[in-house]
Every structure is written in C-alpha cells, then in structure tokens.
C-alpha cells in the first residue's frame, strides 16, 4: 500500500517535470521575434481614451493611438505626431496644425482633421461623462459647451481648415497646451467605427473590442483577455511604420509587485512596471544590469490640515518640516535613489529651477515649537497621521512617527485606511496630517503649484493665500518664460514658508528592464513610446 502510493507520487512528479514550461514565455524567442513582454500594473479599466484615467491605460492607449504631437523618447521635446508641423499665432491663442500626408487609421482610412473635431466634441459632451473633459476647457468656448450654455459646437475653438490642417483656438494663451496634446484624452477617434457600434455615447464598449477597435498609432489591438494579457501588433498602415521595429507588445496586468518581480526573474517579462522596496537593494548589488532607477516628475509629501489645532500655527508646521530628516529617510529607508525634496515642484521642468531649501534643523525646529507654546513637545495634543493601506506606506509612516517623537517629543498616532476611505477623509478634511503624492501631467510647474489655489479641487490643506492665487492667475496668461518662472518661484517660496505641505522626496521610477530592450531611455514623465523600442538579442 505504502509502496504503491510512493510509486504514484513518482509518476505525478515526473508528469509535472515533463510538462514544465508549458506556457512560460521564452524570452530569447520573444526577443528574436521582436515581441516585447511588459508588466503593466493593474488591469486597465478600458480602452476608450475618453472614459479612462490612469497610468496603465496611458501605456496601452498611447501605443494604439497617436495625437497631434508625438512624445520624445529621450527628452522633453515636441516631435511630430499626426501633425507634421504647427504654427502658433502671436497672441498665443491660435494653433494651426498641418497633418502628415499619409497619416492612416489601422483599417487604411486617412486620419483627417474631422477625426479630432469628432473626438474633441465627444470629450466635451456632458452625457459621455468623460473625466478628462476639463483638459479641453482651455479651448475657446470649451467650458461653455460642456456645461450646456453653448449648444453649437461650431463655436468651440476647433475647426478643420482643410483635409490636411486643423485650427485650434484657445480661451487664454496656454503655454503648456502642446504638452496637453501629447496626452491620450486629446487623441483622435475613428468616427466610422464608433458610429457603426452604437454611436459616440454607447456604453457597451463594443467599438474597443479586439477586431473592432480602429486606431491610428504604431500598434493595433490584437487580443485583450481581462486580467491576463493585452496584445498589440504593429500597425502596417501607420504613417511612420518603417520606424516601428517591434512586431508585437504583450501587456500583462499584474496586481502584485512580488508576482511581477518573480515573473521577470523567471524570464517572462522584458520590463516590470515597478519593483518592491525590499528588492531594490538586492538588485543593486547582484543584478544591477536589470535595475533601472530614473528621476520621475512626482513629489511625495505630507499634507497638513491647517484648519485644525495645532497645525493652524505656522510655527508648528515649520517645526514639523524642519525636524524631518529627509536625507536619512531617503537613504536608509527607501534606498531607490530618491532625492530629498527642497521644494514642492520637482526639478527638471524646462528652465524652471526651484530655489527653496528645506534644511534638517532640529534645534530651530524645537525652538519654533517652544515659541508656539509646546516646549519639548509638552502639551502638544496627540495628532493623527493618515495613510492609505500598504506595506510601504506603513513603514514610512512608522519612520516619520519615530522621527517627530525623537526630534520634537510629539506623539503621532498612525491611522491607515483603505484607498477610497482615505480619499474621502482627505477630501472632507477629516485628517490632521496625511501622506500624499502628486505626479505631473505635463512639463509645467503649474501642474504642481496650481494645487494650492484657494478652493482648488485638490487643495485639502485648508490653506490659501490671495497673493498666491493672484500669481497663479498671472502665470496663466504670461507668455514670457522667464517672467512666468519668476512668478512660480515666488509661489514656491511662499508655499515653503507657510508649510501647508511638507515635501519629502522627489520620486524616482524604479523598475527592472532587460538589457535586450533598446531605445528605452530615461524620461521624466516615464513615457517610453513603443514606436522607438526594439529588442536586440544578446550576442551569443
């Protein structure tokens, strides 16, 4: 009996061994075939550029579609997209785009200016419920059309001048408008296919299914299995098809970073979306060829509820910031090359260089706290630090708690909440201190500094300042870059002095990349257009 069962176990084990590797990606083979396998974070919520938000969606949609302006793989320049060239009027309000003569949809139809008019009208149609509709509020009458006060779309500032050119008129001169055009909500849509699958407002998403989706980017949708894989194949009709060297991209939606890292290590992926905090060190010392750490346009900070005691006292806020050992935090805890923050806006946006400093000065911090009436932390009420659930956020919060206890003698209670609850608490001001982060959408300091305008939709600090708001208004119309940057600098300085937020570090992107992947360069917005990527099999 026992011998028998042993035999069975042996049979079973040999069966296991013999069918190993059944579906495992064979990375070498994929590389030879120019098939790029990449981890893509959580499953995309959809492929309709008007109905989704989020980074994983961006990765997929920007390989399938292309806007007027192309993304620069190496830096932050503006490359031709659907538009081969563009002109801007003197007052900065009228843009004229000339189209690529051979810009085509994946079904062979030509991409025409009307496709943009159609798409932008759809984005601005209230009944669609598009979250990014506000991006086009920069258009003349864009907002009015959206809120229904204007019925006639012809009066909105977008017009096809000819089959080859598109004219866009803005409400105000908007210096970063071209940056917005790199962003997927402003991409064109194929009117024919959308209308044949129920029209622009249909909710069943038939038109985005594989086989139905018509796109104009370097790749087209081939397969989409939810929570499993999304496959994009090279689009032969793409105007710049000769540039595209990848044959296929496989996007793997992977919720767990640990799983993703294991898949990468076992040779199933060319690139990961992320890397667990624990692993950075190990990769740095053992597999540094895979580890990529690149600056990223984002800031990690703590927001302070300035409406609450004791944080309504500026000196307390300053003390908290001064007692924050950013360098130690970054070097000993995060270890992924993050830079301690000296400003709210990360460096690297054009010629804007934030000049503020955020020193670590415990003596000064104690002094300020004493002045505020809490010498050595005595009498300081217990305050709460809110963070959204997650291993790494917890670790960081624990470090902060200890830091303030040690440096200032104040007690902080940690509170974690599920993401949506956390969002709601923040929004309703039901917090004292909360962790937060902000990622820039486009290359402009305004994408960071506009947060703290009075009654701003994302300003949960309760802090505002009329001068600050005034300066922000001025930047919206100021066309001279230097003067504009000077305004931003003043805002930055005011913000750092008032401390409604405690910036901690500038983000880096840490991920794993196989050396076979070529044309994948660091980029501050972490956009790596698939158009320029290719795979080079390692020399035998």
């Amino acid at each position: 009996m026992q011998k028998n069962s042993l035999k069975w176990i042996l049979v079973l084990v040999s069966m296991l061994v013999s069918c190993q590797g059944g579906s495992q990606n064979d990375l070498a083979q994929l590389t030879r075939d120019q098939i790029y396998a990449v981890g893509n974070g959580s499953e995309i919520s959809g492929l309709d550029p008007h109905r989704v938000t989020g980074v994983p969606e961006d990765h997929v949609i920007s390989t399938l579609f292309e806007g007027l302006i192309g993304e620069d793989p190496k830096g932050l320049g503006l490359l031709p997209g659907v538009a081969q060239s563009w002109r801007i009027s003197k007052d900065g309000k009228v843009y004229t785009f000339e189209f690529q003569s051979n810009a085509k949809w994946s079904n062979g139809d030509a991409v025409v200016p009307e496709d943009f008019v159609f798409a932008w009208k759809r984005l601005l149609t209230r009944d669609l419920g598009a979250e990014y509709a506000y991006l086009l509020f920069h258009l003349k009458n864009g907002r009015a059309f959206y809120d229904g006060s204007l019925k006639d779309f012809a009066q909105v500032g977008v017009k096809a001048l000819s089959p080859q050119s598109l004219e866009v008129t803005l409400e105000h001169p908007t210096p970063f408008f071209l940056e917005i055009l790199k962003f997927y909500p402003t991409y064109p849509l194929h009117r024919g296919s959308i209308e044949s699958f129920g029209g622009p407002l249909a909710r069943d998403g038939k038109w985005t299914q594989p086989g139905n989706l018509v796109s104009n980017g370097p790749f087209q949708l081939a397969q989409w299995d939810l929570n499993k894989v999304l496959v994009a194949k090279a689009n032969p009709h793409y105007w710049d098809a000769s540039m595209v060297r990848l044959k296929e991209i496989r996007f793997y939606p992977i919720d767990s970073r640990q799983t993703e890292e294991r898949m990468f290590r076992s040779g199933a992926l060319h690139k990961t979306e992320s890397l667990p905090l624990h692993k950075v060190e190990a990769y740095r010392s053992e597999n540094s060829t895979y580890l990529r750490i690149e600056p990223y346009l984002g800031i990690f900070y703590y927001m302070l509820n300035t409406a609450q005691k004791p944080l309504n006292d500026k000196r307390v806020r300053q003390a908290l910031s001064l007692a924050f050992d950013r360098k130690g935090f970054v070097e000993h805890l995060l270890k992924a090359g993050q830079k301690p923050a000296d400003s709210f806006t990360p460096p690297g946006i054009g010629r804007y260089v934030p000049k503020t400093q955020l020193p670590y000065d415990v003596d000064r911090a104690r002094q300020l706290l004493a002045e505020a009436g809490y010498p050595g932390g005595k009498g300081f009420p217990s305050i709460e630090l809110l963070y959204n659930s997650g291993e790494e956020h917890r670790t960081m919060s624990e470090a902060v708690q200890q830091m303030w206890l040690k440096n200032l003698g104040i007690r902080v209670e940690l509170v974690n909440q599920d993401w949506k609850v956390y969002l709601a608490s923040r929004k309703q001001g039901k917090y004292t201190i909360a962790r937060a982060s902000w990622i820039g959408d486009y290359m402009d300091p305004g994408t960071f500094l506009e947060l703290f305008v009075k009654d701003g939709g994302n300003n949960f600090t309760g802090w505002s300042n009329p001068r600050y708001s005034q300066w922000l208004k001025e930047t919206e119309v100021e066309m001279k870059e230097e003067r504009r940057n000077a305004l931003f600098e003043k805002m930055e300085a005011l913000l750092m002095d008032e401390v409604p937020v405690i910036p901690v570090y500038y983000y880096t992107r840490a991920y794993l990349l196989r050396p076979e992947v070529q044309g994948h360069d660091p980029q501050l917005l972490d956009r790596h257009p698939a158009k320029y990527l290719w795979l080079k099999p390692p020399a035998p």
Binding site: C19, E43, A130, T208, Q258, S266, K420, A424, K427
Partner: protein, 311 residues
C-alpha cells in the same frame, strides 16, 4: 423530496433578494464613490459622471431600477471598467475561477479526506500524528505564505513549473495546491474527528462482530456518520472555493472572479460588487442546499421530516 427542493429554491430566491438589497444600500454607505480618485475632477464633470451612471437619483429609485434590470438578467454596466458590462466581466472570469475551484476542491477532498481517514483509523499512532502534523502545517501556512513559498521552491529554484499564469497543466499545479491546502487541512481534521467519534459507537462494534473487514466497516458504516460534519463544512467551503480567491488569483496572475470581486470592492464599482455578490449568493445557496441534500440522503432520520422542513 421535490417539495423540499422547491421550498429550498424559493427560500434561496428570498435570500438572494435580501442579500442584494442589503448590499445595495451598504455599499452606498461606504465612504468613497467609484469616481473618487487621487486628483479630484472639476465639480461639473463629477456631477455629470454621477448623472451618467444615475447615481444622482434618489437611492430608492436607483434600487428599484436595479431590481428591474436584474429581473431581466442584466447586472448593469461596470462603473470602473467602462468598456464592459458586469455580465461580460463575470462571464470572463467565472470559468477560470470554476476550473481553479473545482480542481482545488477535488485536491482538498482527496488529500484531506485521505489524511483524515488515515489518521482517524490509526488514532493515537505515529500515522495519526504525522497526518495531523501535516494538517497543522496546512493550517499554519495561509495561502499568502504558502503560495510565494511554493513558487519560490518549484518555480524559481527548481524551475519545474511556471511562476504564474493559468494555461498549461503545469501552471495550474501550484495555484490548486495553494488554494486547496487550507481546506484539505480543515477537511482532514474534521474527517479524523468524525471517524474517531464514530469508531467509539456501538454499531461499529456490531459491524466488526459481523466479521466485516476494517475496510468494509469504514466504507459501509463509519463514513456514513463521520462524513456529516465534513458535509456541513463542505457546503460553504465549496461556495468559497468556486467564487474565487483573490490572494491566489493575484499571486499567480490568474484572470478569475476573485480578483474582479476584490478590485470592485476596493474601487467601489457598485454594479460589479453587486454582480459578484449575486453570483456568490447563488453559489452559497446552491451549495448549502446541496450539502443539506447530501446529508439528508445519508441520514434517514432527517428524511422522516420531509413533510416539515429539513432538520
């Protein structure tokens, strides 16, 4: 018997209605809506979004609308996955989840019952201790720990099986073991206890006095009684297994319903939560009914009560 089944199905429908209603209101009470994100939308966009998904209507009206739709088998559009309806999403995940669940259930039953019977029939011996030690190990290693451990050993170090996915037979082994082991441990313990208890009964001695072999006693007499606590546990367990496991599906990158369910809950995808809850309720009701039915088939005393209800 048929009368009993009809009554149970009707009760099931009531349960379903109750669950749907309660869930419908509960999820709307939870803070954070489907469209709350890290960065807030302009107020007018937010407003319109709610309107689009009829979230601006009075809750009661939303409720009646939803009930109306559900009677037609339409679970509504997903709030988060805007390209799909809830029906489509469930359909996309359910078969894989079923497959995983059935394998895991099978694995758990084979391993668990075998171990339990083995231990129970060898009460107090080293075999008993070995089997119970294994069952303890299974309980002490929850799936979030067992999974990575198995992957690390068999996927990374030995390279026998893929570290993730759900396609080849080899890729299915680890997820099934990870999901099934805890249940196998539970079943082993319950089975063992059942056998040990039953073996003390006089009628087992009677069977032995008849000259039945130990095997025949076990199958024909002991298991009849000993399986009852197991059956009671199997109902909810089967429902839980077949409704998918978030941990295992995430760990192994399996496109099943468990991930949808948890993603939906965290994202406050109201229709999707409701859809998956409806699905789960159907499973629970069905499997508990099945488990009661099996018990009834096994226990004539309960059958007596056919006229009333299942006792």
């Amino acid at each position: 018997m048929i009368q009993w089944a009809i009554r149970r199905v009707l009760q099931g429908v009531l349960v379903l209605g109750f669950v749907i209603s309660l869930t419908f209101f509960l999820i709307r009470l939870a803070p954070g809506g489907p469209f709350d994100r890290d960065r807030n939308l302009p107020a007018e966009v937010q407003e319109k979004l709610l309107e689009t998904y009829h979230l601006d209507q009075p809750v009661f009206q939303q409720y009646t609308n939803y009930l109306g739709r559900i009677l037609h088998g339409d679970l509504g559009p997903s709030f988060i996955r805007s390209d799909r309806s809830v029906n489509q999403l469930i359909e996309a995940g359910v078969w894989i989840t079923f497959e995983l669940g059935v394998y895991a259930l099978f694995y758990a039953m084979v391993i668990g019952l075998t171990l339990g019977i083995w231990a129970g029939t060898h009460e107090g011996t080293w075999q008993d201790r070995l089997a119970m030690g294994m069952s303890l190990l299974g309980m002490g290693l929850p799936s979030f720990l067992l999974g990575p451990l198995l992957v690390w050993i068999f996927g990374m170090k030995l390279g026998w099986v893929p570290v993730s996915g759900w396609d080849s037979p080899a890729s299915k082994i680890l997820p099934v073991i990870t999901l099934g082991s805890v249940y196998a441990s539970y079943l082993a313990r319950l089975m063992r206890t059942g056998i040990v208890e039953t073996q003390r009964e006089d009628y087992i001695r009677t069977a032995r006095a008849k000259g039945l072999s130990e095997g025949a006693i076990l199958i024909g007499h002991t298991l009849r009684t000993a399986l009852i606590p197991v059956m009671n546990f199997l109902g909810p367990a089967a429902a839980a297994l077949l409704s998918g496991s978030f941990v295992v599906e995430t760990l192994f990158q399996i496109p099943g319903l468990g991930r949808f369910y948890v993603q939906a809950a965290f994202n406050r995808d109201y229709t999707m939560i409701l859809g998956t809850t409806v699905f789960l309720s159907v499973l629970v009701v069905t499997f508990n009914m099945l488990s009661d039915f099996l018990q009834m088939a096994m226990n004539p005393r309960i059958r007596l009560q056919e006229g009333g209800d299942l006792s």
